[in-house]
């Protein structure tokens, strides 16, 4: 049976892993390559690397980190952050990414999804969406959650999937960093309208949050989190064991 995926997310700035709360107050943590190796060993099913540097020096450092990771870690790697053109796709795919996640770049140029899907295949294009409730509507935010685009999230996701996005990462800004659990209501709304895999992001604080996610929303394919894994608050190996105990299909890595 296909397993539910557990995905640690590494925000990388100037070659270091960072994680903030509600997208602000960034704090540097550790070497991304070492962290990636450790996660792979403990049973992470996939890794997401977000490039949150603005400078071109930082971008080069990021590409190096990615290549070093691809040489040492043999699970799927998704890359996001600063992806605006097909050239950006090309750069990160050549450096070792398997999938590329678009967010603000697709909002600025919605044709990017279709163009990339045509060249690299639907399976390669991940649509990452930062969503916040505004006046009772799920609203898409851009630029790391700072800018309200006015777009309705469900419409935007539908359009993205029609254009060729092969996977959706739904990040609830409302629950991000709060550690009180995933945004089940928002996720249920998205699962209702899409036929491609959905990755839940934002809000996990403990193992139980993942169990609740997969039990309550069987259509969700994966759970993504960052700081709880980085700070060791949740061990992926223990999480996987707990999933199995709760009859949630999970892949266990033997030591």
């Amino acid at each position: 049976m296909i397993t539910k995926r557990i995905i640690p997310c590494l925000d990388v700035r100037n070659g270091q892993v960072v994680k903030g709360t509600n997208f602000v107050g960034l704090k540097e943590i550790a070497s991304p390559v070492e962290l990636a190796k450790a996660y792979s060993k403990s049973g992470a099913d996939e890794l997401v690397f977000y490039d949150i540097t603005a400078s071109s020096d930082g971008r080069d450092l990021f590409t190096d980190v990615l290549t070093q990771t691809a040489k040492n870690v043999f699970i799927p790697l998704t890359v996001g952050g600063g992806i605006r053109t097909l050239k950006d796709f090309d750069r990160v795919l050549k450096a070792g990414a398997d999938k590329v996640s678009v967010n603000s770049g697709a909002i600025a140029d919605p044709s990017l999804i279709a163009k990339a899907a045509k060249v690299y295949g639907d399976q390669c294009v991940v649509l990452s969406v930062d969503v916040k409730r505004v006046n009772g509507q799920y609203r898409v935010f851009a630029k790391g959650g700072r800018e309200d685009t006015g777009l309705d999230a469900l419409d935007w996701i539908k359009r993205g999937v029609e254009s060729g996005a092969g996977e959706i990462v739904l990040n609830s800004i409302d629950t991000d960093g709060v550690k009180k659990g995933f945004d089940l209501e928002m996720l249920a709304a998205v699962c209702e309208i899409t036929s491609v895999p959905v990755i839940a992001s934002g809000g996990a604080g403990c193992i139980e949050d993942f169990i609740t996610l997969f039990k309550r929303l069987p259509k969700v394919d994966a759970g993504l989190a960052a700081s709880i894994f980085h700070y060791g608050e949740v061990s992926i190996a223990e999480l996987k064991q707990e999933m199995l105990k709760n009859a949630i299909p999970a892949r266990i890595v033997k030591e």
Binding site: M1, I2, T3, R5, S40, D45, A70, K71, N72, F74, I75, P76, L93, K94, A95, G96, D98, Y120, G121, D122, Q123, C124, G166, E167, S195, V196, P197, D221, A222, R251, V253, K254
Partner: protein
């Protein structure tokens, strides 16, 4: 040394990294002579079947692969590379493949399930485990990303997975092998499979 066939389709970087990690020397080549003379061959591939076959034919690689296959050189097709081994595919029309595995490539009939079949799924080997999977156990997980799969190929199937019904996960016909999943992205289990493949020599299978 293993030659990875480069025909402009797919990302060869991860594959060569994973082979390097198990200590295998790798040559990425599109030269028919190099391919024909290879010790072992991996045929990768991501993308559309018809484009891939066209590129293989246009570059003269098909003849080189055919001669190597006849000589008994171990050949491993991965993902689309595996699908190319079949007689034909129904992806966007009907297209002729290499024809080394009797059967066709058709959409996964996963009613109500998400397509592509993407993620980690378990392998079952049936009664007799193929040497390629010697180091694996029933139920080990590997990473899949595909919307089409091999059908009507029962006698060549060496591993299946389950996705709304049995799905062909790996095939073998003598020295010609194919994995629908990505061993290069399947963690330690995947590296084990590649290591076993790289232990095969001409005439072993």
């Amino acid at each position: 040394m293993t030659v990875i066939v480069d025909y402009g389709v797919g990302n060869l970087f991860s594959l060569s990294c994973s082979l390097n990690a198990i200590g295998e020397e790798v040559l990425i080549s599109s030269d028919p002579q190099v391919i024909e003379g290879a010790e072992r061959i991996i045929l990768p591939g991501v993308g559309a079947f018809s484009d891939a076959m066209e590129k293989l034919r246009a570059s003269g690689v098909v003849q080189a692969l055919t001669r190597a296959a006849k000589r008994g050189v171990p050949i491993l097709g991965i993902c689309l590379g595996m699908q190319l081994l079949f007689e034909k595919s129904f992806e966007y029309g009907e297209h002729e493949g290499l024809g080394w595995i009797e059967g066709e490539v058709a959409p996964i009939p996963a009613k109500g399930l998400k397509i592509p079949h993407m993620g980690w799924n378990s392998l079952s080997f049936g009664e007799k485990k193929h040497p390629l999977f010697a180091a694996l156990q029933e139920g080990d997980h590997v990473y899949f990303v595909h919307s089409y799969a091999g059908v009507n190929c029962d006698k060549y199937v060496i591993a299946r997975t389950e996705y709304g019904g049995p799905v062909t996960a790996a095939v073998a016909n003598g020295n010609v092998l194919g994995c629908q999943f990505h061993p290069e992205k399947s963690g330690e289990i995947g590296l084990c499979i590649l290591k076993t493949f790289c232990s095969f020599k001409e005439g072993d299978l």
